[in-house]
Symmetry: C3
């Protein structure tokens, strides 16, 4: 099954933008934690729970720089439908990661791995798809 | 009024790239502050003013990961002209934010809110625009 | 010499995705260094070598937010072939930077400058290219 180009890009955009909304929600939690645990800017550390909330936000940024270009490149060179599906996995994995990290940093592995894997599948898949166009 | 596709994307690209130039200028200020306040790499903290300059740069990165995909997605699915206008607001808001933060972190709110709001309007507008294509 | 649009974008995508793979490899090194130097999350500092590895990863993120939009915008408004060539320089410069930084932070300048310059050429070139479309 192949989607028309515009419809496919619309699905991918919805997922990509939702990942940014999720990330923005994490930044909102950092602001909240600043107040709650009395960590005033420009400090980025000072209370164990604040540090966890801060790292969730930071690490999500580190994943988005892979995920956002990856999902569009994969959609363009491989399949928008598969890109959308893998993107949904990314969103769910980030939610699992964020909850686990704040509860206990040692338990963050499953969500972290799943996020990382889904982003990398998009990036590596896009490389293969692009290579097939030029070889 | 509707712009031709290429012209619209050119305007959006000029604004998106200017936001990156502004961000790069902030990174240059971090380098300067390293020398001035004697904070040697890999340290990222050590002097109150350095910390502020460092956080301006860092926080702008956190906003760009929303703004850059947001402005292109909004331009594509809603309007390149409105994307350009909202992008100009983002650029001005970041300048206000940077100046206020370095002078006094407590005064950063207006610039921070305006930056955040303009980036989120792009992201949420893009979701609405993309949804209207697939519904 | 002008490439067909799709072929050009395929080359650019291969380079952009390789830069993300390189970045992901740096994040893998951070994870390794956490174990080796006993720096447990959410801490992001605690051992000199860990701090260097952490900063390599972090600084690469700071460059990618310029490089990824820059290479696509440059490819679209100037030339995909030149974008690809400058992208290859970026990839090599980042490798030089990472090795130098971990060995001795003071020696990071050459790699840092070359990375920064190649990303900025893409961004500024894209502005010029886009301006020429609208003027």
């Amino acid at each position: 099954m192949e989607l028309p180009y515009l419809t496919g890009m619309a699905y991918v955009t919805i997922i990509a933008m939702l990942a940014i909304v999720q990330y923005s929600y994490f930044s909102f939690k950092v602001g909240q934690a600043r107040g709650k645990f009395d960590v005033e800017a420009p400090a980025t550390s000072g209370h164990e729970t604040f540090d966890r909330v801060f790292r969730v936000h930071q690490n999500t940024l580190e994943q988005l720089i892979c995920f956002i270009p990856g999902i569009y490149a994969f959609a363009f060179f491989v399949s928008p439908l598969w890109a959308t599906g893998i993107g949904v996995i990314f969103l769910i994995a980030r939610t699992i990661y964020a909850r686990a990290y704040v509860a206990d940093p040692a338990s963050r592995s499953v969500g972290a791995m799943l996020t990382f894997a889904s982003a990398q599948v998009l990036v590596l898949g896009a490389i293969v798809g692009a290579l097939l166009k030029v070889l």
